[in-house]
Amino acid sequence: MMDQTASGQGFVRGFLWFTVPATVLILALLSLTDASLKGALVRFVNAMLTSFTLVSFVLLTTLFAYGDTRKRPLAPLFGMVLMVGFGALITYFFLAQGDLLMENNGSIRAQALSNIIRFGTTVLGMAVALVVVGGTLLGSLLNSPPKHILFEEE
């Protein structure tokens, strides 16, 4: 029980360290420059809907691996198909509401495709950043001198 509480607190602490400094940095940049947040909300919602739909699709495909360990159940597969469909429908619905989520694209289809490519670009940027941070961490950990545990008997 204590371990669970400690790991929960650790997770919250890690999450806060992950998000708060970046948010503070962005807010500081906003206050130091004349930049406005125009268009940021539209980008946020577009990114969120696209991410929900595409990540659901990727998770849907992982269900085939899950099915190997069960008797190939149809219920979770159906649930995830519903989720992907829901994501696609809600994206279409919001894009169809005039200028609500439209950027510089002429049609709903063009906007949806543009969202997907932008999602790919964001994921690419995240992946390269992970290579840098993860590579540095792994490189340092594996180049540290091995630690010996000294028992009392020794």
Binding site: T19, A22, M83, R118, V132, V133, L142
Partner: protein
């Protein structure tokens, strides 16, 4: 039609190929996945030539532009990591030196793409996806470095060197962002970079929130399914004959009987 085949279908092949190669247990399926993913990736890379009329080809151009420094970084870090204290397959010190040089070249290459004349330009202006990629990478690198700083302190003991390295990366990426905001690059002005940085922050938060909701719902789907399963059939209690046979066998082993 051409854009559908060379870009969207290729993208789907790449994604599905990578997933099959990663998750499948069957060797043949993994190979097919790798080939499919590879073909899709090559087709995406070739889009500036195959579908140059389509705006989507700018993404292929970005892939081609960043693949060089990314491979340098990935291979460089691999060389550094596996020339350390690994039990098998340790690389030599020379490999480590080459790794360090590769990482430095990769970082310099990326810097030159913003601060020198190597900025990806497609067809005549700065590639619009580069304007999304670069601030996203810096901001996410900053967030990951600060998050990893906390996690390393939490999981490991006496990991001060790793924590210092994470602070160094966070400071480096923050400095790059601040420089981009206040100093004009040869192709990207400071105003343009500031706007793109804010939009990259919106993109990142959106992607993370959307992914988190999808993962939570995915977990719920599995939990609901698993909870609806009937409990496994319980065996009947042993009969008198079975108990007698078991006690006979146990007694034989304890007393050192016939066997």
């Amino acid at each position: 039609m051409q854009a559908f085949v060379f870009f969207w279908l290729a993208g789907l092949f790449f994604l599905l190929g990578a997933l099959v190669a990663f998750f499948s247990k069957d060797r043949l399926q993994r190979r097919i996945g790798l080939v499919l993913g590879g073909l899709g990736f090559v087709s995406l890379l070739a889009t500036p030539w195959t579908i140059s009329f389509s705006p989507s080809s700018a993404f292929g151009h970005l892939l081609g532009s960043v693949i060089g420094p990314t491979v340098l970084l990935a291979v460089g870090f691999y060389q550094i990591a596996f020339s350390g204290n690994v039990p098998v397959g340790r690389l030599t010190k020379q490999d480590r030196l080459i790794g360090v040089l590769m990482v430095m070249m990769g970082v310099l290459w990326f810097e030159a793409m913003h601060w020198w004349h190597l900025t990806p330009t497609y067809p005549d202006d700065v590639n619009r996806y580069w304007l999304i990629f670069w601030p996203t990478m810096l901001l996410f690198g900053f967030a990951c470095a600060t998050g990893a700083h906390s996690l390393v302190g939490l999981v490991g003991q006496e990991r001060h060197r790793e924590q210092r390295l994470m602070i160094l990366i966070a400071l480096f990426t923050a400095a790059l962002m601040l420089m981009g905001v206040f100093i004009n690059g040869p192709a990207v002005s400071s105003e343009m970079f500031t706007v793109e940085l804010l939009l990259a922050a919106a993109d990142l938060f959106g992607v993370m929130v959307g992914a988190a909701v999808a993962i939570v719902l995915f977990s719920l789907v599995l939990v609901v399914y698993e909870k609806q399963q009937l409990p496994p059939k319980r065996l009947d209690p042993p009969t008198t004959e079975q108990l007698a046979a078991a006690s006979h066998t146990i007694a034989q082993h304890l007393a050192g009987g016939e066997e």
